[in-house]
């Protein structure tokens, strides 16, 4: 089986879903002839034509509002927002409509719409090509939120997202679009909504993370093992809403120590909710505090982005502290 990157895996998922179901259409800025600025939709226009691979005018509000209409009539739109940092013009449509129409209509209408978008930092993209706003969508209520950490999961999760009857925010960490290659089967497979994955086993600490931070966390875990002899278990959440609480609880029963790593700012990041949930419901499993290593509560900077983002040193430090309990 050939090794491919996440962009290629996403492209494969879109192509397979469009072949499987005529109702699947993709749309967004520059996604047709250009194939998307990161080439996720590359070549689709040649296979499916411009009626199904729709280059749109430059307005995120328009893309999402229009996609909601497509979905209401029974199509399965996959809308690309070129960078998640540009989504805010569409926030009224996302918050008040995409996430509310099922509720508003008493369940008579639903919006099977996937909003997919590159997110997160690490490519020297500056403020408006680097941010991690997953909490905004989680807090919206009415949206599923996913973020894969590699090609295999990206393909399976995107297929699941397209087949769900509710809207999905599908965030793609652009820094790992091309650097990670995995074997990705050409067959049809999906990854269940709300299921995380243990990407590294260990008995001392449960490290919960997602997206590109999975890879930083793995590197940190290797160093911690070498320097401190600590075995870190890493959970890749994959679905951020609803998150896989059972996987976390099972791991904590073994480790009793919890660390959360995410790129988004600390205050009210998903780490806050994970931490609050475990303290509310499973405080008896913990030997000590739950710690978080996150982005800072500042805008994402162009200068020193590596120092803004969670790094090995900060993860190492947090693990050392947790091992005092």
């Amino acid at each position: 089986m050939p090794q491919i990157n996440m962009v290629e895996a996403l492209n494969m998922a879109l192509r397979e879903e469009m072949e499987r179901d005529d109702r699947v259409v993709v749309l967004g800025e520059d996604i047709g002839r250009r194939g998307g600025v990161f080439l996720v939709t590359d070549g689709l226009i040649d296979l499916f034509g411009e009626e199904r691979v729709i280059d749109t005018p430059l307005t995120e509000l328009g893309i999402i509002g229009f996609s909601i209409g497509l979905a209401l009539y029974g199509l399965r739109p996959v809308a690309e927002i070129q960078f998640i940092d540009f989504v805010y013009e569409a926030f009224d449509q996302i918050y008040s409509n995409m996430a509310r129409i099922r509720f508003r209509s008493g369940g008579m209408y639903n919006v099977p719409l996937v909003l997919r978008s590159p997110c997160c930092g690490g490519i020297k993209g500056g403020m408006h090509h680097s941010q991690s706003p997953e909490s905004l969508f989680i807090h919206t209520t009415g949206l599923y939120v996913m973020m894969p950490s590699g090609p295999y999961d990206a393909k399976g999760l995107l297929k699941t997202a397209i087949r769900l009857n509710d809207p999905v925010i599908f965030l793609e960490p652009k820094s790992i679009y091309r650097v990670i290659k995995e074997e990705v089967p050409e067959d049809d497979y999906t990854i269940e909504l709300g299921k995380g994955k243990i990407v590294r086993e260990g008995g001392d600490i449960t490290l919960v993370t997602w997206g590109a931070m999975v890879h930083i966390s793995k590197q940190a875990a290797d160093i911690v093992k070498e320097k401190l002899g600590v075995e870190v278990e890493i959970i890749d959440l994959r679905t951020l809403y609803p998150y896989d609480k059972d996987l976390i609880i099972d791991s904590l029963e073994k480790t009793g120590r919890m660390l959360i790593v995410h790129e988004a700012p600390k205050t009210l990041g998903l780490g806050s909710e994970l931490s609050a949930y475990i303290v509310e419901e499973h405080v008896d499993l913990l030997y000590g505090p739950i710690l978080r290593v996150t982005g800072y509560d500042t805008p994402f900077p162009l200068a020193h982005e590596k120092l803004y983002m969670p790094n090995i040193a900060r993860i190492y430090n947090a693990i050392s502290k947790l091992m005092e309990y």
């Binding site: 209409g69 009539y73 199509l75 009224d92 099922r102 508003r104 209509s105 009415g142």
Partner: protein, 378 residues
């Protein structure tokens, strides 16, 4: 001005700056009447009467504390002319001041009152106030943030064209909504993709307290439609025949040519924005009294009497009949029970995720506790 810019010639500009009408405020014929038989002419009148009587009842029920809030329709009943040419498979995105639209689409007074009271039979399950819709009538419930539905309608129209359906979409919104990005994005997409959507702007001159000349410096809303490459016309929105005739042409054109169309319905909001509003703070009673003589029912009634379709006493009888009819329905719906307490947990997602299941369990326990403590549940 002889230059033609992508379909924008002098005649098409003139259509957006004039006021297309067929009958004047006295009911005199001043334009080309559509070729309609007596029963169709009568039907238009009946829908307008039903809308007006229902509006009066909703205001009454609001004052009695039974209805949370109501957006009065008085003066805008001629909107029935816009939706009458549509077929059942066509889709409608109404605004929240469109009782006539709901009735024409087939929603009856009982369902509208069930909705207004959000009782056990409320089709929208108590989701929000002052909005109406039902999938049975291909009528999507209105988002309260004004104009949000405009790009949705364009997406539906695109899907109709993509699936090769013979259907069209109509979307209503007010003058205030035209200042929002939704209006711009919706019209822009419709122009670019050439989809069968009819935009109906109910320009009632007031967006709560802000008058039209504060909303835009454009000479009309229809004028703005032109620059998106959309055929547009301003119509006397208190002349139901003009609304019917122009909407028929727009619907036919959209259906045949798969092209968008914009109708500016020039009207006047004679009532308050909603029952929570006090118009005496921002507009004079003189203005309202002056505009009263343009209202749509009286002129159409005069016209129908002139045409021999209706007599004065039949008109009075029609009003009385619906008034009594709704009185009976009001008694019936007021006796219906409420929605289940946990109704708001459902219809967020197709299936409840685990966290909502946990919260629902906790909610139900709290209800039991409230009862055991002797506290009133709701």
């Amino acid at each position: 001005m002889s230059r033609i810019v992508r379909g924008i010639d002098e005649a098409s500009i003139e259509k957006t700056l004039g006021i297309y009408r067929i009958i004047d405020e006295e009911g005199n014929i001043v334009g080309d009447e559509p070729n309609l038989d007596g029963s169709t002419l009568y039907k238009l009148y009946e829908y307008m009467v039903r809308a007006r009587v229902l509006d009066e009842w909703l205001l009454k029920l609001q004052r009695l504390g039974k209805v949370a809030i109501h957006a009065p329709n008085l003066g805008q009943e001629a909107i029935v002319g816009a939706v009458t040419p549509l077929k059942p498979d066509d889709w409608v995105f109404p605004s929240y001041r469109d009782l006539g639209v709901y009735l024409v689409r087939g929603m009856d007074e009982e369902e509208i009152l069930d909705r207004a009271l959000y009782n056990q039979d409320d089709p929208l399950k108590g989701s929000d106030f002052a909005i109406y819709g039902n999938r049975r009538f291909n009528m999507v419930p209105t988002p309260v943030p004004v104009g949000n539905q405009i790009p949705h309608a364009v997406g539906v129209a695109y899907a109709m064209k993509y699936l090769d359906r013979d259907s069209v979409t109509m979307v209503m919104f007010g003058d205030g909504a035209t200042s929002r990005g939704d209006f711009h994005a919706g019209l822009n997409f419709a122009g670019v993709y050439r989809v069968p959507v009819i935009f109906v702007c109910e320009n009632n001159q007031w967006a709560i307290s802000v008058p039209f000349d504060r909303q835009t410096r454009s000479p009309s809303i229809a004028f703005r439609g032109l620059v998106y490459g959309i055929e547009s016309i301003r119509v006397d929105g208190n002349d139901v025949l003009a609304m019917y005739k122009i909407a028929s042409e727009a619907v036919e054109k959209a259906r045949k040519e798969k092209e968008p169309y914009l109708i500016e319905m020039l009207t006047y909001r004679l009532g308050s924005h909603t029952t929570a509003d006090d118009p005496s703070k921002y507009r004079s009673e003189e203005e309202v009294n002056r505009m009263m003589k343009y209202e749509p029912l009286k002129r159409y009634r005069n016209y129908l009497i002139f045409k021999g379709v209706l007599t004065d006493s039949e008109a009075n009888e029609l009003y009385r009949r619906y008034y009594n009819y709704i009185e009976d329905i009001a008694k019936k719906v007021l006796n219906k029970g409420g929605l289940p307490h946990d109704v708001f947990f459902h219809n967020v997602f197709e299936k409840l995720p685990w966290n909502l299941q946990d919260q629902l369990r906790e909610f139900r326990e709290s209800l039991e506790l409230m009862k055991s403590l002797g506290l009133e549940v709701d």
